[in-house]
Amino acid sequence: MSELFPRKQVMGFVFSMVLTAVALLVYFLDMSFTAGMTVLLITAFVQAGLQLVVFMHAGETDDKGSIYTNIFYGVVIALVTVFGTLLILVWDM
């Protein structure tokens, strides 16, 4: 029986609930802007990684190479876009 129990998924679920609760704290507690954003960014990225690995099964099939390459490429392009935009519209204006 025990090997049928989706242990990883249940733990993942609990963990993602905890992450959501922590993110909500930013709203309920009176934090500084920087502290709040730090908490939000960290919980958001951990949450996204968790969802990908535990619930979207990245890394469980033989095409995990192309899946991780795609994710990596996506992250690179997202970072370039975000920091490029900051450079254009804020830092170098």
């Binding site: 192309s66 392009i77 876009t81 935009t85 450079l87 254009i88 204006m93």
Partner: protein, 648 residues
Amino acid sequence: MEFFERFAIPHPSPAIYASMVAIALTMVAIVAGLTYFKKWGYLWREWLTTVDHKRIGIMYLISALLMLFRGGADAIMLRAQLAVPENKLLDAQHYNEIFTTHGIVMILFMAMPFIIALMNFVVPLQIGARDVAFPRLNALSFWLFFMGAMLLNISFVVGGSPDAGWTSYFPLAGTEFSESVGSNYYMIAIQIAGIGTLMTGVNFLTTILRMRAPGMTLMKMPMFTWSVLVTNVIIVFAFPVLTVLLAMGTFDRLFATHFFTTTNGGMDMLWANLFWVWGHPEVYILILPAFGVYSEVISTFARRNLYGYKSMVASMVLISLLSFLVWTHHFFTMGQGALTNSIFSITTMAIAVPTGVKIFNWLLTLWKGKIEITTPMLYSLLFIPLFTIGGVTGVMLGMSAADYQYHNTMFLVAHFHMVIIPGVVFAMLAGLTYWWPKMFGFMLNERIGKWTAWIIGISTLVAFMPMFFSGLDGQARRMYTYSESTGYGPLNMISFIGAVGLAVGFVLIAYNVYYSVRYSPRNISADPWDARSLEWATHSPVPEYNFAIVPQVDSSEAFWDAKKKGHELFKGEYEKIHMPNNSGVPFLMSCIFFVWGFSLVFSMWIPAIAATIGILACMAHRSFEKDHGRYISVEEVEETESKLRGAS
């Protein structure tokens, strides 16, 4: 009555009333024709519900050609207005609407579907697959694109066309300065079509990565398939930006949010920024498949394998990355500092390097090749010098300091037409002519085809070269008229003549189709060009299952090796073939999307909510539906094969 007032045209003219009548008459004629010839059932069974990648490709093709003529009519009107100084043919408002729809139609509803048409028809055949990875999704992609295109196309007779340019910069496109529903059409029609394109991206990425014939490793894929793979990577990463951008724009216009306003914390330049984050990769989405077509055509008609296969692949991969790193070059003059502009100038010029590598590879393929000038080859040979003019002027524009001089002048307009027409349009026409026999089982007439290629090639130069000069003289783009004392008159007249030449060329294409349908012989072989890749290894027209036996591949030119080196492509016996079932849901769902979009354009909330529920219902239906496809029996395969073998 009040309810209907919103559908009125804010700025009517006799020409618009005439088009209303023409559209109404055409619709009546189509409905009457279908009823009279009893073709409704045929249309529904064979086309509206099809999930076959070849038929979907052909529907994309027909739409693209129709839109080419719609966009072409716009172009002729624009050039006619500018042909002489102080012309009164169009007023400022109409001119604005026409250049806006011209840009949207040509890029999103002509070039994109043309590319996706070839992609759909050719890629599964080139990789030896039976269909794409998600055939039903493919049908949905097409119908969403189609409904988006139709939604934009009715704008000029219902409620008014968008008039803020195809780039739709805010604050001009905001509700304050664009009061008519035109810009709502822009946001929503492109959104619907864009979702379709994004799904195409996912679909073809999966297809190419997962469904290649045994033995076809990535480095043994034909170059067109490679270009499509890279293109779809760009689509998957660039189009979400467009989706979000248009959603934000829609919110600003319909729900008075402040993403792009100049007040209340909005930032109008964020629109330009995000638009080009999508927009520059988009121009490479257009050009890379075109490069793929040229690679196929040039190696086929130079009768040599493509020179520098690996460097071709590497340069495309590099272009796909660099295309995301240059977007600022579209607004060097927007006010950011010299540091930013210099960084993006350098990345922009860097793109010319891999592009140059490709040009030299084609030249080296031609070098020592046994060149045979067919129509597709003629387009490819015309492409090389003409595109180089566009590319070199692109590098000029890429120098940010110099761009202050060129930006938003006719010089820029000349640049992008000199890359898009020789680059994309010639490639699509070459591809159309090249794969036509595979699609329809007969060839297009070569003599008319070559005349057309020459006329289009020369007219492109006549139409766009003068703009480089008038641009350097200071003629601004998007101005509906100019005074005689500017001296722009003669150059613009030459340009108009070129535009008429292009129109003649496009009419000749239609004539060629008509002529070839009537007179072209039908007893051609399955491989009329003596070509090299797998799509030529099956019959023309292609049976619905593509290949009776899945081919075995061990080089990038499997079919050529089969012909010349005795490589055996089809090993084994016929087996029953698993195929997907047709479905009407993609079509219905897209119709609901049309209603949804139309309701949102006019802020009619109740139908919009009803349509949203309808869309969700279609998705739910799909989730719970049990459809495992069907099998084609061995007997049926045998029967089809022996019949087709007789035919070709």
